[in-house]
């Protein structure tokens, strides 16, 4: 069916072109023989082809363009006729004898063009006559094209100021009047198209109309090109007249297009100076007009204008552009009751961008915009519309992007209030944006207030918002989010310990609301951040005044204790243990024995009560050993208690090899090389011997259960420990002991039951090589190693 129509249309167009060409041919012949009468006759016949109603705008345009070309030739002919002495006035009358109105008016416009050029009559009179006479065409399509033709032939002949057709004092008014009238009539025709024809073809009509819109819009372009239209005239005449037409036509397509056209065609400074008039129109437009796009365009243009020409800035202030725009938006939203949230937000988003560009120093403006936006959103609940959400994100991102500094955004009191209207998902996205901005720009957030504000912004990430379904949450995303929060915590810094302490307290308050899923992510950075402060304080002198309120490491440690304790509820014992140990180490550096002891206690409790997995136990025990080894703050008693416990734990590990490793590691607890008061060689040896026993037991167990002995690695490792203490001067480690261990290993390796293990072999070999090397070194070391036989 549709293809049928299209085919028919092709046929009609072809027929039209054929008819046109045939008559054009006769017209040319008549023109060549200077036969005016025939030329008129055939030209009228040629133009009759344009009377068709069968073509769509697109095809009609094709036909029109052909006719247009022919009319150019005819115009030249008319000019020659006039030069040959044919009165142009007569010619002007002659063409009006044509019986059909459409050809008549095309011819009239053509002669009219020559008439104006001849200057036998004032351009304004001729133009006025032409534009009046064109009223005879009430058919939208034909009328639009005819008037477009008129506009085309007249555009270089307007009685503009400075033009050769300039008339008397009011010349500019005449030029303007002409264009305005043609514009008005064209718009009426264009709008009328909408209401003609069957309702079911509405879509098709709208498409056709959009194809024709530039014909109408061109008039505005012509207006903008008139030299004489200065700001005054534009403000007093042009704009009100155009807007009147826009408002009165009550057609959404036209209103949208024309408003956009006005904004695009006329200079920005005009817009700025006529802002009130222009904006006053928006609330009067049809409810279905896409005002937000147009208005956003306007604001964008104005922002760009402000960006390009700095000298225009005072003008912006002078005309109070911002408050006018703000008001207008409010009114538009009020007027368009069923405007979707998305529209309103888009408007505010544009206004915000405008404000940020034009008045970057006026943060209050930005806040005002956000405030208005909140007002619009209030009572609507969370926004579900994805487009609206997107716009809000854009709205909220704008200040951050502009200032590259979240701190500025934090000053906007309405900022978090807007965020509240986002759904949880988007809220998080937005929070991530905020955090990323902080990261990217390396912004340091330095005061408690700001930290408070910041956490208000990102609370979507900090704690569970109501109605969040965790099941739907992607684990990776969640980790990503929380990692970013963790990074953010590192950015909160103030060199002043007092403030920093407050910041820490604030952060703590917030992150503790985060629930068990978040704490493992958020607690460590806070702990380390606090420890950083501790280290900072540690370097300073004690507060000489002993001020109670002053921040001391002690206070921080108390706080830390509480923070880490929170993890136990998660539960995340591994992590808590590590953090306790970290804290203990810091306390150690601060010479706070009781504190350090407390942390160790906590760690031990965790070990005993919470860490049951044997692998986790191994890791934990090694961590404990490592930390404890470095502790120097403990008195003998405390240290004994702790080391004893540790050795005990080590021996109770599940697997023998693990036991062995832990036990020989414990030996270091008794012999700390750089601390003279901790060189208990006997107990170190005891540990090693015990380890050796366990290794033996492991070997035997392996023999029994698997029929082959395990690797000798454990022995080699113990040998290395022996060598270490030997070298460090532990008197309990004797050459004989080493010697026998070497022999033991050699025997074991040669034993049939031992599983060959190349790694262990290599390890042993290199250990032996080391002994050899030390022997050859000579001096004290060489002497020491001398007796060992390999």
């Amino acid at each position: 069916m549709m293809t049928g129509v299209a085919e028919d249309e092709e046929k009609w167009l072809a027929a039209g072109i054929a008819g046109l060409q045939q008559n054009a041919f006769y017209m040319h012949r008549a023109m060549d023989s200077n036969n005016l009468r025939d030329a008129l006759k055939y030209s009228a016949q040629m133009l009759s082809e344009l009377r068709t109603s069968k073509l769509s705008p697109h095809k009609y345009y094709e036909l029109y363009m052909r006719a247009f070309d022919e009319l150019r030739k005819l115009e030249i002919f008319f000019k020659e006729e006039a030069r040959r002495g044919c009165s142009i006035v007569d010619l002007y009358e002659l063409v009006q004898h044509a019986g059909n109105i459409l050809p008549r008016l095309y011819l009239l416009c053509t002669v009219g063009s020559v008439y104006i050029k001849s200057k036998e009559a004032p351009a304004k009179d001729i133009l006025k006559d032409l534009v009046e006479m064109c009223r005879g065409i009430q058919h939208p399509l034909r009328g639009l094209f005819l008037r477009s033709y008129l506009s085309q032939v007249s555009r270089d002949k307007l009685p503009d100021i400075g033009s050769e057709y300039e008339g008397d004092a009011d010349t500019i008014m005449d030029a303007m009047e002409f264009v305005l009238q043609n514009f008005t009539e064209m718009n009426k025709l264009w709008v009328r198209m909408q209401h003609q024809g069957p309702a079911r073809e509405k879509e098709k009509r709208e498409k056709e109309r959009s194809e024709l819109r530039d014909l109408v819009g061109k008039n505005l372009h012509v207006l903008s090109q008139i030299e004489g239209v200065d700001l005054e005239l534009y403000k007093e005449t042009v704009l009100p007249r155009v807007l009147e037409q826009v408002v009165n036509c009550k057609d959404d397509i036209a209103q949208y297009y024309l408003m956009d056209c006005i904004i695009q065609v006329f200079p920005d400074e005009y817009h700025l100076q006529t802002l009130e008039i222009l904006l006053g129109v928006f609330p009067q437009l049809q409810p279905s007009v896409d005002i937000k796009t147009v208005l956003s365009q306007l604001m964008e243009r104005l922002s760009n204008y402000a960006a390009i020409s700095a000298e225009a800035l005072p003008e912006f202030l002078q005309v109070e552009a911002f408050s006018k725009l703000n008001n207008a938006i409010g009114k538009v939203i009020e007027a368009q009751a069923d405007m979707p949230v998305f529209g309103a937000v888009t408007l505010y988003s544009s206004l915000l961008k405008f404000s940020l560009h034009v008045h970057p120093d006026r943060l209050d403006y930005a806040d005002q915009v956000l405030g208005s936006c909140v007002k619009q959103l209030s009572g609507r609940g969370k926004i579900e519309d994805s487009k609206a959400t997107k716009q809000i994100v854009a709205l909220l991102s704008a200040p951050i992007e502009k200032y590259n500094n979240v701190v500025t955004a934090l000053k906007l009191s309405n900022y978090p209030r807007v965020m509240e209207y986002l759904d949880n998902e988007t809220n998080k996205v937005m929070a991530t944006v905020v955090i990323q901005s902080v990261m990217k720009n390396n912004t340091h957030i330095t005061t408690v207030d700001k930290v408070e504000a910041l956490f208000e912004l990102i609370k979507g990430l900090i704690k569970d918002l109501e109605r969040t379904a965790y099941d739907e949450l992607d684990e990776d995303d969640f980790k990503e989010e929380q990692n970013s929060v963790a990074r953010l915590i590192q950015m909160l810094h103030n060199d002043d310990p007092e403030e920093m302490f407050k910041i820490i307290c604030t952060v703590r308050k917030h992150i503790l609301t985060g629930g068990p899923k978040r704490l493992p992510f958020t607690v460590p950075p806070l702990v380390f951040s606090s420890l950083k402060l501790v280290r900072q304080l540690q370097g300073q002198e004690e507060n000489p005044f002993g001020d109670e309120a002053a921040t001391t490491p002690k206070k921080i440690f108390q706080l830390l204790n509480q923070i880490i304790e929170a993890l136990s509820n998660v539960p995340a014992p591994d992590l808590a243990l590590r953090l306790y140990l970290q804290c203990a180490e810091a306390a150690n550096d601060c010479e706070l024995e009781p504190v350090a002891y407390e942390f160790f206690t906590q760690a031990y409790i965790l070990y005993e009560e919470e860490i049951s997995d044997s692998k986790a136990q191994i890791t934990a025990i090694h961590l404990i050993i490592g930390t404890l080894q470095r502790m120097h703050v403990f008195g003998v008693e405390n240290r004994d208690t702790l080391t004893h416990k540790t050795t005990g734990y080590s021996a109770k590990l599940l697997k023998k090899p693990d036991q062995c490793k832990a036990v020989y590691a414990c030996s270091h607890l008794f012999w700390v090389d750089d601390q003279d008061n901790m060189k208990d060689g006997e107990r170190a040896l005891l540990c090693l011997k015990r380890a050796l026993r366990i290794a033996n037991a492991a070997q035997q167990m392996s023999n029994v259960t698997r029929g082959s002995a395990g690797s000798v690695t454990l022995f080699v490792e113990i040998l290395n420990k022996y060598l270490y203490f030997f070298e460090k001067g532990n008197p309990q480690i004797t050459v004989a002991a080493i010697q026998s261990l070497i022999e033991l290993i050699t025997t074991e390796m040669q034993s049939d039951t031992t599983t060959p293990d190349s790694t262990a072999d290599a390890f042993f070999a290199s250990t032996l090589r080391y002994i050899q090397f030390q022997k050859q070194k000579g001096g004290a070391v060489g002497e020491k190693y001398g007796p060992i036989k390999v």
Binding site: G99, I137, Q138, H139, R142
Partner: protein, 273 residues
């Protein structure tokens, strides 16, 4: 200057109260003589009805005797003159009626029959511009359907005049396709129950293309010169009248015609005046 039976011939043109004068030459065939019982020239104003062909009604008849009875042997020229002839009517060629002026030369010969020669000439009557010439303004319509107001700037137009006017649409509920202005001539002949009325459309001038909406005003500018119009003739010698009408026709999409006819008076304006 006037067209006759498809062909164009040049004929003398007069107006009322003019002297009609000329010469008549009679030249017998070489070596022959013409015997006659007198020669006369007549100036006749005739009205001829086509349905009553051959029956002329002479409303003007003037005679000049040119020669007493005698013989003509060689070419002889007679000057003649009808001075300040009253010729009240214009020459007219209509559908059913013709008004003509003719000079008739008769050479009376007894038994062989007279020799008669005709020479047509044309008379035009000129009128001064009318002192009273009001515009025609009218509001017409079909209830709840179409309401228009139209205006023609005058009620009396000379033949080279231009009709200026406008049509204002007060109400449009029908889908109008186009609007034409027609000039119609109504020629009525005879009298009483014998009256014949013939209407011709002499001009069809498109005023508007497409459907207007309420509030539109469409301009009219119609030049009369291209059309073959005559002045309005009212009751010429009780024989016929010629009247002109402007007919405004609106055609809707179903090709229904809505029209309003309005008489206008045409007159011939003295050139140069």
């Amino acid at each position: 200057m006037k067209k006759e039976n498809g062909q164009t011939v040049m004929v003398p043109l007069f107006q009322s109260q003019e002297n009609v004068c000329g010469k008549i030459s009679i030249e017998p065939i070489q070596g022959k003589k013409i015997e006659h019982n007198g020669i006369k020239v007549e100036l006749l104003g005739q009205i001829e009805m086509y349905f009553d062909k051959g029956n002329f009604y002479d409303f003007t008849s003037l005679v000049r005797e040119l020669d007493i009875p005698g013989d003509i042997y060689e070419k002889k020229t007679y000057p003649f003159e009808f001075s300040t002839v009253e010729m009240p009517y214009e020459t007219y060629n209509g559908v059913n009626v013709r008004l003509r002026y003719v000079l008739k030369v008769t050479i009376n010969r007894g038994y062989t029959g007279s020799i008669i020669e005709y020479q047509d000439f044309v008379v035009r009557t000129f009128s001064p511009p009318p002192s009273l010439n009001t515009s025609i303004k009218m509001e017409v319509g079909i209830e709840d359907c179409l309401h228009i107001e139209f205006e023609y700037n005058k009620s009396k137009y000379h033949l080279k005049d231009v009709i200026i006017g406008k049509i204002y649409f007060l109400l449009v509920r029908i889908k109008i396709k186009n609007m034409d202005l027609e000039i119609r001539r109504r020629e009525s002949t005879g009298a009483g129950h014998n009256t014949h009325v013939e209407t011709e459309t002499l001009a069809k001038f498109e005023l508007m293309d497409g459907a207007p909406v309420r509030g539109e005003s469409i301009p009219i500018r119609l030049f009369l010169s291209p059309y073959e119009l005559t002045p309005t003739h009212r009751n010429v010698n009780n024989k016929f009248s010629v009247k002109y009408y402007l007919n405004l026709v609106l055609v809707d999409e179903e090709d229904r015609r809505y029209f309003k006819q309005q008489e206008i008076t045409l007159y011939r304006l003295q050139e140069g005046s």
